[in-house]
Every structure is written in structure tokens, then in C-alpha cells.
Symmetry: C2
Subunit: 503 residues, 2 copies
């Protein structure tokens, strides 16, 4: 495709430059808002060029670091490249890059983990300081200078609004057919001027198809031609399939009991192999005319749209395998009729999640016997990725489900523990816990009944005797029978794993 066809606004064609020249416009010490959500729609060229720039500055003994705000996770070309040169002072609100993770856990990078629905309003309110520059990937620019969003929306609207200067990456590698798939709502405001968000069905559109940016803000336009991260999914393993089966059985029972309608309620699904297995199960299952109101569309949901099981889907980003991405591009008109991509302040908004009655399906690192969930920290201290949108959906959804295999690291770790080493979702927000062993339905249960239910249904049989023993001794200790714990043993499983390699 030609430059003219993608950058239809002549004025902006005058600002085309190399990634290297654009990166040189970013000084040290600034806060930079970048596009990108679950490895989709992130800038492909400027971050790498900036990393080179930083490396050169460091060779001159200059300290050069920036803070990077995104939608969610990006890719090696962004987080990886900047982390490698120690170029990131502060990162928010979510990341999943291995190199970033290492830098954060080694203490060489600051990281703030934030509910994804909170980010736009906090930034707008100035809680994170001033946003200086935005670097945003788009599919193209219209004649009148409106921006065609890319494979993720994330916080792009907010970054463009808040930044003094904007650098655009126009990615020729993204399907031009994405134009028209987005719905960018410009009706949010700071209190006391907020109005109801007019969304009552997942597929409703009430915004603009384009991102709006005053052209004078745009200091550079960089052309790229590169795919998104597009990582391949493993085929569902046995544990994932078992988890999916437990969940499908549960849904069937809920429909039978008339606690869920036959088409279920709008689905939110976290990212990963278990989530994809659940979607594969739903694609084979008895439910029809389903909808999704979620953050991320993975392969599983794309297949469900294709089969017709899923009627409509709303998200803020794609996260596809190369094959699924090709399927999307080849049938973009079909999918554009069925998919709406929104800003993450809407995709994750408590108001609309609560109103729609979303079924929240999220993975976790570990749960404790009382149903508190750790989604972010390994052994209390090391961050894995971040809370992402799991809190937005778990707290406000109609049903809140957390899933994990019952063991990790070859069976040396039990993901059901006496006390989680970090809490991201409190007992109040966790209704259903599922492992390959079974499903614990915690609705209406007080803590000790939750414990029995989780131990007997979800824990791996190898760890059940130990868990029962802890729980019984905690009950017998008479320290307090509401949530019985042994203070000097509650975290001993984690401690034991670190000391001896086995919980």
C-alpha cells in the first residue's frame, strides 16, 4: 500500500521522518504514553530507535531514562528494547515482558501495577504527573487528519489528549480493513461533570470510529510495516481441558437452575492457554448466541465468532496467533460486523461491567483456602505481570471465576495454599475457584465452609492432607474461628518452597 493511501492527510505527510529522527525528539526524563495492549498495536520502530539513542547517551556517560505508560503489555520491540538499555525509570500500568520483569524484580526499574480501568482517569486527574509525549501506532490517517486506530485501542485516546506532543507510527502491516471497527467514546469527563455511559449491550456503538488529535500536536509520523507480537498458543493440555469441562458443567447447571440465561451473560476472558481452552470448550458446548464484553480477543473467541456461537464481541485489543491474524485479515468485513474495539476506560469500566452482568473468567497464580486470590506476585515479592483488568471484572461482574492448575513447577508447588503470599482479589470478590481437580462454588459460604470446599474440590490430592492438617490445627488453635489461621505457619509453605524446593 502506498504512503498516500495510508496517510491521506497531506499536512501530516510533511511530518514523515525516520524512526531515528522521531526518537531524537524524545528527551530524557519525560513521561511517554505509548500505544499497545496485550502485544497488539504498540509502536514498532520508535522505541527501538529510542533505545539506541539511550545506549549512545549512556556511552557518553549521560543518564537517559524515560517513564513508559501504556495500555497494557507490549512486546520485545518496546518493553524489551527499552528494558535492555535500562531506559525505563517507571513503568505502568501492566507489563508481561521477561526482561522488564527481571529488571523490576532486580530493583532496576520501578513499576506500578494498576487496575486498567483506573489508568485514564488517574492520568487525566494528574495523579501520575504530566504526560509529555505520546507514541501511538495507527493504521492510517484520514484526509481530514483523523487517526484510524490499530489492533488495540488501550489508553490511546487519553495519551493523545494529555500529551503535549504526539508521534505517530503508521503501520502498513496492519489490515486497512480495521477502519470502522473501533468505537472511541469522547463523552467521559472528570467529576462532577460525568454522565451515564450509554451502553446496554456489548455491541452498541456510541462513539467515533477515529481518534481525534489536533494536527499541530503531531511532531512526527513514522511509517512501519511489521506484525504484532502474535504469539502462538499451545494446543489445550489435559489440565486446561479439565478446567474447561468443570466450568462448562457449572454453566449448564446454572442455566438449568435459571440463574443464567440460555445464552449465558457477556463473557470476559483473561489471556492464556486455559482461557483459550475454555473458549474452545464453549465453541463445542450447548450455548448459542453468546456475547463477549472483554479486554482481549484471542484465537478462541475469533473461532467462536466464526462458528456463530458467539454473536458479538467487544474488547480493547486483539491478541492473536499468526494464523488467527491471517483469518482476521482475510475476513475483515465479517469480523467488523461482529467486533467493537473500545478504549480500555470503557472496555473495563465498572459501570458497564456491572450493568451487563459480565461473567469474569480469569487466571491466577494461587488461591488460599479462604478464597483470597494472588494474581501478580510469586512468593510474595517477585512480580509476574500485573493485575490488569482482572479486578475490574471480578469485582463488578455477575460471576467471578478464577482458574489455575492445582500445582506448578512439576508438582512442587500447590496453587492452593493456607494463605496467599499477596492478595489481589479478596475473598469478597472470588465466587468460583476451578482447577483440573474440580470446581468450588463459594457463593453464600462463610470462610470455614469455603475452606472445606476449596480443599476438597480444588487442591491436588497430594497436598490435601497437608491442607486439611493446617486447617484443622488452625481451628483447634482457638485463635478465632471466623478465619482460622496459624500466624507462624500461614506463609510457611512459600518459605519451605524457597528453602527446600518443595511446598
Amino acid at each position: 500500500m502506498s504512503t498516500e493511501s495510508r496517510i491521506r492527510c497531506p499536512k501530516l505527510r510533511q511530518r514523515i521522518m525516520s524512526a531515528r529522527d522521531a526518537a531524537a525528539l524524545i528527551p530524557s526524563g519525560v513521561n511517554v504514553g505509548m500505544s499497545g495492549f496485550t502485544g497488539a498495536g504498540y509502536p514498532k520502530a520508535v522505541p527501538g530507535a529510542l533505545a539506541e539513542h539511550i545506549r549512545a547517551a549512556q556511552a557518553r556517560d549521560e543518564n537517559f531514562r524515560i517513564s513508559v505508560w501504556t495500555g497494557a503489555s507490549t512486546a520485545p520491540e518496546l518493553d524489551g528494547a527499552l528494558a535492555e538499555v535500562n531506559g525505563i525509570q517507571m513503568r505502568l500500568p501492566y507489563q508481561s515482558d521477561p526482561l522488564c520483569r527481571q529488571k523490576i524484580n532486580d530493583g532496576h526499574m520501578e513499576y506500578m501495577d494498576i487496575h486498567l480501568s483506573h489508568v485514564a482517569q488517574h492520568a487525566w486527574s494528574g495523579f501520575y504527573g504530566k504526560l509529555d509525549i505520546a507514541v501511538i501506532e495507527v493504521v492510517g490517517v484520514t484526509e481530514d487528519g483523523r487517526l484510524i486506530p490499530s489492533s488495540s485501542v488501550g489508553n490511546n485516546k487519553t495519551w493523545i489528549d494529555q500529551a503535549d506532543k504526539v508521534i505517530l507510527e503508521v503501520n502498513h502491516g496492519q489490515s486497512a480493513g480495521l477502519e470502522g471497527m473501533h468505537d472511541i467514546y469522547y463523552g467521559t469527563a472528570l467529576p462532577p461533570r460525568r454522565k451515564p455511559i450509554p451502553l446496554t449491550r456489548p455491541e452498541e456503538r456510541f462513539g467515533e470510529k477515529y481518534l481525534i488529535c489536533p494536527p499541530e500536536k503531531i511532531i512526527a509520523v513514522v511509517e512501519t510495516n511489521a506484525p504484532d507480537r502474535n504469539s502462538r498458543f499451545s494446543p489445550p493440555d489435559e489440565n486446561s481441558q479439565r478446567i474447561a469441562n468443570h466450568l462448562l458443567d457449572f454453566f449448564s447447571r446454572e442455566v438449568e437452575a435459571k440463574r443464567l440465561p440460555p445464552e449465558l451473560l457477556p463473557l470476559q476472558s483473561g489471556v492464556g492457554n486455559i482461557a483459550n481452552a475454555v473458549m474452545a470448550g464453549l465453541n463445542e458446548g450447548p450455548f448459542n448466541n453468546m456475547t463477549a464484553f472483554t479486554e482481549v480477543l484471542q484465537d478462541g473467541m475469533l473461532a467462536m465468532l466464526k462458528s456463530g456461537k458467539l454473536a458479538k464481541a467487544s474488547a480493547t485489543a486483539f491478541s492473536l496467533s499468526p494464523e488467527a491474524n491471517e483469518e482476521l485479515a482475510n475476513n475483515i468485513d465479517f469480523y467488523r460486523d461482529r467486533i467493537v474495539l473500545r478504549s480500555q476506560e470503557i472496555s473495563n469500566h465498572p459501570e458497564v461491567i456491572r450493568r451487563l452482568g459480565v461473567i469474569a473468567l480469569n487466571g491466577m497464580i494461587e488461591a488460599d483456602i479462604y478464597g483470597n486470590v494472588n494474581s501478580t506476585h510469586v512468593m510474595a515479592s517477585r512480580i509476574m505481570n500485573g493485575i490488569g483488568g482482572s479486578g475490574d471484572f471480578a469485582r463488578n461482574g455477575y460471576l467471578s471465576v478464577f482458574m489455575t492448575p492445582s500445582t506448578a513447577k512439576g508438582g512442587t508447588i500447590s496453587t492452593i495454599v493456607p494463605m496467599v503470599s499477596h492478595v489481589d482479589h479478596t475473598e469478597h470478590d472470588v465466587q468460583i475457584v476451578v482447577t483440573e481437580q474440580g470446581l468450588a462454588d463459594l457463593r453464600g459460604l462463610p470462610p470455614r465452609q469455603r475452606a472445606l470446599n476449596i480443599i476438597e474440590n480444588c487442591a491436588h490430592p497430594d497436598f490435601r492432607p497437608q491442607l486439611r492438617d493446617y486447617f484443622e490445627r488452625a481451628c483447634n488453635s482457638k485463635r478465632g474461628m471466623h478465619t482460622p489461621h496459624l500466624l507462624n505457619e500461614a506463609l510457611s509453605w512459600h518459605h519451605r518452597y524457597e528453602a527446600f524446593g518443595q511446598m
Copy 2:
């Protein structure tokens, strides 16, 4: 006042009976939804008569227990009386009764702690089982059988809707002038049929002044004449005043920085002496034309309405001293123009709290150095009261503030600890921590910076060296620098207190 003036519907006058006869209509094993929120508007006579009934059954060796669902806390006449005879199988969603607390912590009563905004929808969805009977205090009944709500609304609408049978208590002791103060919204629904809640200002009315109940459901009407719990507040002590001052200074700085408007944003305030001190401070402070969107109106907010500092207030219940209650009754027309009492599904609704941008002010038991907050559990296991609405407001508000004196039990307990023994509000939901020592503004800070901020600003000087020592050793342990912890020491402060009476 006469029976005729309070029970204007002739049909319902025929169902007047004694509390004893009404209580006899409640069989063992049922789920009973009772009115009552923060010691206001709870039934005064039937629970005590039921307790007598239970005692008699127990004397005949019959097992007689019920489950009690309320709005929030009640009083000795309800929770106390039923707990005393071990008459409660299961209690939800909140309580603060000393005897209940003891029974729960001794393992003789089950208790489920629930976000107050979740209760109505969970009950409606059948997550807690079937509601059999509702026992609701009202101020009176209109000619056509509509019910005039009392000094709290709580979950009354939901209990009346969901229960098969309803017992009314008409309390002659409640001011007849409460009529017209309430706004009962009948527009909520289960998904997928939910619509936006049409509230954009705290004082807006969009519902009914009355509770609606099909007369055939009403199996008994009991007349009472008794005051609410109406507990006296202590005058603000030095620590409460210091906390209030830190907070007022913070608000002034935020207004100056234009992160808050001059009239602030709608205030939510938890219950208790610190909350009352903050309101007293605001009543003397520089802010005018404030509003409140809160659960409970205490003496402090009533005084602010009187002075004109507070223009309008929305809540679901009063919680007043005897003097303030008299002030309310004597000037009920003045207050009716300024106060709206709503169902707790609206007063605590994430949608409207987020839209209004509420400033959430809540107390806590302890916070850890990373800003996780424990609102409910003493030393991990013993429940104090419950999470109440603190999660609804902290998660969805514009600003989330948690307050506590820096020490408890004569200085033997530090309320700032390495790791909280129970998490109700995760780091993501805690922006401002205040003690009498100072205020920690955690917005935009990653975990280690939060720790330094909390230790140096909020911890008591007697405990700062120990906290710094823990934090430094955790950092040096290199177990993970995102949230440095020592697994075998994280809960040692609580353990030490239990073993030696001193953290």
C-alpha cells in the same frame, strides 16, 4: 400518635398483632431478611420475641435457628437478642454487635462478610438461597398500603420483593416527618435487562417515596414505640483531630493544585469517632457548598447541613446520637429538603460512586508498608465488624483515603505493619493513608516508594526503626525487589503480639 394515623390502610390494621404472635409465624430453618443499617431502622420487638420463642424451643430440646440477612449492623434488640440464644445459624452481610462477634469468633455462628453493594443483586440471583420472610420496620403505611420507610432503607426493597411473607413493625417512635425523605428506585434489574442508573448529582430523586409490598404478603403488623440504637459519640480526641487536620491540609493542597474543585467532590464517610472528627473539621474549614454521597449520616454531617457547609446529602441510613436525633426530628422539614435516603444498592453502587467521583474516607484496623489495608480481622482470624461499604467506595471513588491512629492497645500494637494479617483493600485501591503522625500520598508511587512514604509519614516513631529494619533487610534479601518481604517475618509482628503482648 394513633394507630389510625400511622397505619392508614384499613386492611393492614386487621393484621395488627403482638410481637409474640408475629414471631410465632417464623419457623426454624428459614432465611429472614430484616431491616436495619448502622443501628437505625431495625425491627425493635419481633427479634426479641423470636429469641424468647427460640429459648422455649431449646428448653424442649428442639433445635431452632434462623439465618439473618440485613442491610448492615443492627442493635442489641436484634443481633444481641438472637445471638444470646444461639438463634442465628448464618448472618450476612455485616454486623457490629459484641455478642455476635463473640459467637462468630468462637465458632458458634456462621458469618459471611459481603460488599454492601453486592447483597441485593446476589440475593435476587439466588446466590444465598431463598429468602423466606422479611421483617421490616416502617414509619407508617399509607391509605393505599404503601410503606413509609424508616430511619434506614438498606436492603428493605429487596427483602420485601424476595420474601414470601412480610412482617411489618410500625414504629411510632420514629418521626412521622421522615415521610418524603426517601427515594426508592424500582428500576434495577438482573442482567441482561439493566439500564443506566439516572443519577448525576447526589441529591437527585428518580424513584418512589415509598416501599411497595403486595398486601397479601403481609402476614403481621406489629406496633412499636422505641428509639434507634442512637449511640453517643465521644468528643474528638487529640489523635482524631490530628488526623482530621492532616486531611484538611491535603484537601486544601489538592484544591490549590486544581485536582479538586473548591467545593471538593461528594464525600463518603465511614462510621466512628475519627469520621466524626473529620466532619467537624470540614465544618470549620474553608470549603463551602459541599455534598455527601455516603452510606450513613452521622452527627457530623447533620451539623454540616445545619451550618450550610454541606448543601445536600445522600445516604441509606442515619446513625445519630440522641441529641442529633432530636435535632433531626425538631427540624425535619429543613433536613428533608437536604437529605435523600436510598436503597443501599444505590447508595453503594459502583456505577454512581464512580460517576460522582466520591471522596472515600474510611477507617481501618491496620495497613502494611505497601499500602494494603485490613478493615475486618484482628490478628488474621478474629472478625471485628465487616468490610461494609468501604470496598464499594474505595475502589470506585475519585480518591480513596484510609485512616487510623498509628498505634492501638496503649501503644503495644502498631497499626502500620510489615504485612497485614488480612487484606480487604489491596494496594491498588489505597491512595492516601492518614494517621495522627501524618499523611502518605501514594498516588503514582511504586511499592518501595510507598513503603518509605508510609513508614516515615504514618508509622508511630516508636515503631519506625523496626519497620525500617524490616524493609531494609527485605530489600537486602534479594528475594524480589518489587515488593520486598521476608516470608518468615512478614507476620511475626502479629505473632509476637499474641505471644508477648507487644509488637
